[in-house]
């Protein structure tokens, strides 16, 4: 088989396998939820890695962008397909939901990318700690704004998304959310990889390593920052949209600084500037959260402890800035994923 086709074939097989496992009941509702959460965390970690890992800025407002995506996708989906006291009767029949779902997610992506501008523009002149404070503030602005918009339920939150998912499942009975999240993860890794491996995208790494040299050697640093922030926040918005439809309910309390911190933990656990690392870290982190559930509140002692230990003994994270193909160069013979 041509190396160009290995990755799509393997991914397709994985998706089919997952579907078979769910249809036969081997993967129950509980396992599906864990896998779906894992996927959402993968998108969050990989997208944050673009800014924090590849570009070397310290963004701590990722949950804010996720919230924008989650709310936008929710409102668009409910407006189009679900009768709502505020939005009135749906515009489209539920039968179309499964076709329109990518557009619903795209709306979340675009909205979050636009809010990403809020952070990108100050980043032209601000760096490091100061930019971190700006991203922190942006996260709070989003959360506080949502708490004060009555149309989306204010602090009580917004729902109705479950009906869209149920509508899709009525049409064709497959685990829709798991499939969408799977596609979302593949899309995220695919787009980020293509970006950071192009000479264009390497401008982002030039900014990380020496911004003055980047500007002098003809890299339009402002434009690169704009692109990186918008891509990163847009993908966070995609994760938000998927999260909203997975849980079926969004409220501002889901998108606090704690959520942003989780994203940061995954990026540093996996290694800055390694997409493989982010994916791996998201998987480990989700499983850790799940298996340490019996500890209840104490798990928030145990997980940070593990992080401290990791930072002591492996400060570059699990993967450093290497990718899977750097560790197993022989793999390159079998696949090409660019």
């Amino acid at each position: 088989m041509s190396p160009r086709l290995t990755t799509p074939a393997a991914l397709f097989a994985l998706l089919l396998g997952l579907m078979a496992l769910t249809q036969t009941g081997i993967l129950g509702q509980y396992e599906q939820t864990i896998l779906s959460t894992m996927g959402i965390y993968m998108i969050l970690a990989a997208s944050l890695n673009l800014v924090n890992g590849y570009m070397g800025e310290f963004s701590v407002g990722h949950a804010g962008f996720m919230a924008v995506g989650a709310y936008t996708s929710s409102v668009v989906g409910v407006y189009l397909f679900v009768p709502d006291p505020f939005f009135g009767q749906p515009l489209l029949p539920m039968d179309l939901a499964y076709l329109a779902f990518p557009l619903i997610l795209a709306a979340g992506f675009v909205a979050a990318a636009l809010v990403g501008l809020l952070v990108a523009i100050p980043s032209f002149k601000t760096r490091g700690d100061y930019l971190a404070v700006i991203t922190l503030a942006a996260g709070y602005i989003v959360k506080s704004a949502l708490e004060n918009i009555d149309v989306v339920g204010g602090p009580r939150g917004f729902m109705g998304m479950k009906k869209v998912v149920m509508g899709m499942e009525e049409m064709i009975s497959i685990p829709w959310m798991l499939i969408w999240i799977f596609i979302g993860v593949v899309f995220t890794v695919w787009i980020l990889r293509r970006f950071v491996y192009s000479t264009y995208g390497k401008g982002v790494m030039a900014i990380h390593q020496d911004e003055v040299a980047a500007e002098i050697m003809s890299v339009n640093t402002n434009k690169m920052k704009l692109v990186a922030f918008m891509l990163s926040s847009g993908l966070a918005g995609l994760a938000g949209g998927l999260y909203a439809y997975l849980i079926g309910f969004v409220n501002p309390a889901s998108f606090t600084i704690l959520r942003s911190t989780e994203c940061l933990v995954m990026v540093y656990l996996g290694g800055m500037g390694s997409l493989t690392g982010s994916i791996l870290a998201a998987a480990i982190f989700t499983l850790m959260l799940e298996f340490l559930k019996p500890l209840e509140q104490l798990k928030w002692v145990a997980i940070p402890m593990l992080l401290i230990v990791l930072m002591q003994f492996r400060p570059e994270g699990l993967m450093g800035n290497r990718e899977l193909s750097d560790i197993f160069p022989k793999l390159k013979r079998f696949y090409r994923f660019k």
């Binding site: 264009y200 390497k202 390593q209 020496d210 040299a213 500007e215 002098i216 050697m217 003809s218 339009n220």
Partner: protein, 255 residues
């Protein structure tokens, strides 16, 4: 048209007059120097030419284009490349990538091309890769292509930085103390390299340098500044015997 036309350039930092009413005219193809004691404002002049600072007064024209209000990357696209006093290579990128990323102003494809891997993207990336390798080959640094700069000797890093600047295809190459920190054997090699570059590439070189052996053996024309103002200019012969220059460097004998 003049390659570089600096007229009455003045730069103030608060109360400090860093550059004072400086004028320079380069026709193209020159090999010349800007010298002066420490703190004379030499690097400030280079920072102004490359667009890092906006001049308080006066104008800089490159190939007839006034650079006021331009960002450094736009000035670079006009054909001005420079190196730095302290080497500023991207250390986590290979030498080849250092050169490829410096082609940003003429990538010839957009973000969408890079995400969709269009024909244009594939062709342009191949062309960029090829020209970068050709340049390294031409400079005799082909075997360094996949090395990371921190693994190279200091003198080699300087050469890589010059190669990166050349990859811009500059009309004007600004070298900020190319010989700083080099052992004397490497300095001889550097002089040969600069001479060769000046012969082989169609460009003008303007350098800041403290080592007089480099300046005197290479440059046709020297400008001397002190406290931001011109105190002398002329051929190496004129400068060597100019009492004003000697006083600026060595101090007044009456002290």
């Amino acid at each position: 048209m003049a390659l570089l036309e600096i007229t009455n350039l003045t730069q103030r930092f608060g109360g400090l007059l860093a550059v004072n009413d400086l004028s320079v005219h380069l026709e193209g193809r020159e090999l010349c120097a800007l010298i002066g004691p420490n703190g004379a404002g030499k690097t400030t002049v280079f920072n102004l030419v490359s667009g890092f600072y906006q001049p308080s007064d006066g104008s800089i024209k490159i190939g007839g284009v006034d650079t006021r209000g331009m960002k450094p990357h736009q000035v670079t696209a006009l054909g001005v490349a420079r190196t730095f006093q302290n080497i500023r290579l991207w250390n986590d990128m290979t030498v080849l990538d250092n050169i490829k990323v410096s082609q940003h102003y003429r990538l010839g494809y957009s973000l969408m091309d890079s995400l969709m891997r269009t024909r244009r993207y594939i062709d342009r990336e191949a062309a960029i890769d090829r020209t970068a390798m050709e340049l390294l080959e031409f400079l005799g640094m082909r075997e360094l292509a996949n090395e990371f700069p921190p693994n190279l000797a200091y003198g080699t890093q300087r050469k890589v930085e010059i190669a990166r600047a050349l990859s811009i295809k500059p009309k004007l190459l600004l070298l900020d103390e190319p010989a700083a920190g080099l052992p004397s054997s490497d300095v001889v090699e550097l002089i040969k390299l600069i001479e060769w570059i000046h012969k082989e590439f169609d460009l003008a070189i303007w350098m800041i340098e403290h080592q007089m052996t480099v300046v005197m053996s290479l440059c046709q024309w020297i400008k001397v500044i002190d406290f931001g103002a011109t105190i002398a200019e002329g051929t190496p012969e004129d400068i060597r015997n100019n009492p004003v220059v000697i006083r600026a460097y060595l101090g007044d004998e009456n002290i």
